[in-house]
């Protein structure tokens, strides 16, 4: 089995807010991220797939096809959008980097021909990123 990772970038706005809480509670928990005018990031998404190398093509997946799926399902959907206001899954879910990783997984899972989705990594900045290995991953310890 080989792991193969493809990277892409998107830029988006967001803010952190929980409607069930008071303004003061939102400010206390989310700090500057609770500013309702929003702020933004240049996000990087890494999609890692697992599969066998095709004996004829030498590919795990067709990279062009993987790129097209990533763009159609995630990058073009999120790029230059306000995640809270324009992306359905974030109407009732705070668009943290953790939740973006889970949402990207849900958008891509089952849509990559010839390989299994292994990991989604989302960088919010070069020094902050989240990894998601799928909803079956509940145990502690090695996530692979």
């Amino acid at each position: 089995m080989i792991l193969l990772t493809r990277r892409a970038d998107f830029s988006a706005a967001h803010y952190y807010w929980n409607d069930a809480w008071s303004d003061a509670e939102n400010q206390r928990v989310f700090g500057k991220c609770a500013n309702r005018n929003g702020h933004g990031h240049n996000y990087t998404i890494e999609v890692t797939v697992a599969g066998e190398v095709d004996a004829q093509t030498g590919f795990v997946v067709d990279l062009k096809e993987l790129k097209d799926v990533m763009h159609r399902e995630v990058v073009d959907v999120y790029d230059h959008r306000h995640l809270n206001l324009e992306i359905p899954e974030f109407r009732n879910r705070v668009p943290t980097v953790e939740n973006i990783a889970v949402s990207a997984w849900q958008r891509l899972d089952g849509r990559i021909r010839g390989a299994r989705l292994h990991r989604i990594r989302i960088y919010e900045t070069p020094d902050l990123f989240a990894d998601f290995y799928g909803s079956a991953d509940r145990d502690t310890g090695s996530a692979a």
């Binding site: 939740n99 020094d127 989240a130």
Partner: protein, 141 residues
């Protein structure tokens, strides 16, 4: 449903690699330039990975401000602009970055909420990096 969250921190410190139980010649042979008696330093970059379920209300595995405060308080303030060799944690251990990585993992495992720490990764330079995820993953819990 678990997610891992990784945050990077930086500190600059000096060290000298010298093993008390080896002769001067052996230390010079084993550690080379790193055995220079006057020491040398690095700009370390430490990645701290925490792991857990996403809290429904906050959307977070852990609040970044809380994580920052804990890592700054227990690791960065301790080692930034310090000589690792004089830290009591390295009184009986050579401050290689392997040992530093394990030491930071231990410090954080006592500071962060139970079972939240997944991994510590340190870059000593952009070409040398070290990872420690505790012993349990090797079945030695």
């Amino acid at each position: 449903m678990h997610v891992s969250l990784t945050r990077a921190y930086r500190f600059s410190a000096s060290h000298r690699l010298d093993c008390a139980s080896l002769s001067e010649d052996a230390n010079r042979r084993v550690y080379g330039k790193c055995n220079n008696p006057h020491g040398h330093g690095h700009n370390y970059r430490v990645e701290v990975t925490v792991r857990g379920a996403i809290d429904d209300a906050t959307g977070m595995v852990m609040n970044m401000a809380d994580l920052d405060a804990m890592v700054q308080g227990s690791v960065v303030e301790r080692f930034h602009l310090a000589n690792l060799n004089v830290d009591p944690l390295f009184a009986r251990e050579v401050p290689t970055t392997e040992n530093l990585c394990r030491t930071i993992y231990t410090l954080l495992s006592h500071t962060l909420p139970a079972r939240s720490l997944d991994r510590v990764r340190i870059e000593e330079t952009e070409n040398n990096f070290f990872e420690y995820a505790g012993e349990s993953e090797h079945g030695e819990a």
